[in-house]
């Protein structure tokens, strides 16, 4: 069982986003970088499945040279191999990204049985790279998954739906996008971190193409001015809180 997991390096935003002066990107001067919570779970799921079915795992990202950091973090968690599709640092849109990933997968000598992605990237929220990769490779694709079971050559996947779960069954190889909650990702171990430093990263230069969706600029939505009323400090404020609960009709009389 060969499992591929795709991740994206994104800034670790705090409580407020600041843009660069040209409004084309987030000002990351003071920020660290990470991958989305969905993708952390995709890495964990790759490790869990490969462990259960005696397989190997590969992590892949498309991004700047600095995205090696995210690949190494995944290797430190236990992923076997890493691939960087190195860009010049500019943002690639969903179509370009999917093209490059599909191309890289086609060029891999050993085919993958399972391709895992996060449900959507934390930053752009395009909800489509995995679906495009699946289409390019002619593979079945299920999205928004919070439970995976593999039995022989078939994969069963659960997605939350109104009042319960809907279950899909697809043949392998397949593409699956996962949501946080599917598992609780492990922490990297110290031996894992040491191994990550020694693991070579395969580097590929992807080709870029134009898109009919052109970003003009980014805008931080205007924040309404704070109008908070401080009700008090400590337990003494309880009667004022209860008065508000009653005013809002939230207390059964």
């Amino acid at each position: 069982m060969n499992v591929l997991v795709c991740v994206k390096r994104v800034p670790e935003t705090g409580a407020r986003i600041t843009l660069t002066p040209d409004a084309q990107a987030i000002d990351t001067t003071l920020l660290g970088f990470t991958i989305s919570p969905h993708e952390e779970c995709a890495v964990e799921e790759a490790l869990r499945i490969a462990g259960q079915h005696r397989g190997s795992t590969t992590v892949l990202t498309l991004g700047p040279a600095a995205a090696r950091e995210q690949l190494q973090n995944a290797v430190a968690m236990g992923i076997d191999a890493a691939v960087l599709l190195e860009t010049d640092g500019r943002d690639w849109n969903a179509e370009e990204t999917a093209d490059a990933i599909a191309e890289a997968i086609r060029a891999t000598p050993e085919p993958f049985d399972l391709l895992l992605f996060g449900n959507e990237a934390a930053d752009t929220g395009d909800y489509q790279v995995a679906v495009r990769v699946a289409h390019a490779l002619g593979l079945p694709c299920v999205t928004g998954i919070k439970g995976i079971a593999i039995d022989g050559g078939r994969l069963s996947a659960r997605r939350e739906a109104a009042g319960g779960w809907e279950v899909f069954e697809v043949p392998l190889p397949a593409v699956v996008t996962v949501k946080e909650g599917i598992n609780l990702p492990r922490y990297a171990s110290l031996p894992g971190r040491l191994r990550a430093k020694k693991t070579p990263i395969d580097q590929i230069e992807p080709q870029r193409r134009a898109s009919a969706l052109e970003t003009i600029r980014l805008v931080v939505p205007p924040e309404r001015a704070s109008h908070v009323e401080i009700l008090g400090r400590g337990a003494e404020a309880a009667p004022r809180v209860v008065a508000i609960l009653r005013d809002l009709g939230l207390v059964a009389s």
């Binding site: 679906v131 390019a136 908070v228």
Partner: protein, 301 residues
Amino acid sequence: MILCVVDGDPLSLEALTFASRLGEVEALVFGEADVGGYVARALRVVHDRLDEYAPDAWAQTIVGLAPETVVAPGTDRGHEVLARVAARLGVPLAANVVEAEVDGDALSLTRQRWGGSLLEEARLTGTPKLLTVAPHAVAAQPAGISTTLRDFTPTLSDEHFRVRVTRRERAASGTARLDTARVVIGGGRGVGSKEGFAVLEELAALLGGAVGGSRVVTNLGWRPHSDQVGQTGARIAPDLYIPCGVSGAIQHIVGCKGAKRILVINKDEHAPIVARADWAVIGDLHEIVPAIVAELRKPLP
């Protein structure tokens, strides 16, 4: 012609309202959904193999109608079906759009990034134009016109049913659901432990509400992930949200910005969540929440 994908999800009606502002719309109805009054024309998809959801079959149905623009709700289904249409036709998909305006042959649009903490202004050209509508970008509003509904049977083959729902499972019935509760009590790192949630549970029980947690809390295993309020968890819209010991990272704010009112309980009056609140009590939640519970239990004079 603008085609708008409609299914049983109530967000479909918001998508219809949104689409109607861009031009003449035809609704494409999968399954049971009432679009009466929203559009002049609706196609009800009738196919003996579409008794269960099959995303490639839905995508093929859309492609077969050769629309100029397709609008769908920003749901799991809306996103994956339009992404499939986009992949097959080699065109872009603008996801979670909040505003759009026809600009000659193009669409000028604003869409959400970072779960709505950041907006992207963009220009979409080419045909067809595909977009999903962010939840609650507009309120569903019938246009008050009479709707002509006719049946439509798409041509589908085995390949379109490679991915389909093969069975359904009911969720275990439990306490009030986060996304529909009138009151939500939230807990963050400040709650301190799994056991620390007992007082929040007590308050929620008294108010008939639900308990939620920040991502920190679900990652620490203090609460199950299904209780997470945030960008990667539940989006809540209660009449009142009471976050206790929650600092207010963007990840969490995205999940609770639908709340009508917010009453914060926090030690730090400079925590980002306080600035977003209507009311705040400053201090230790482990003193304040029990005091509120005691006050609620007092008989009225």
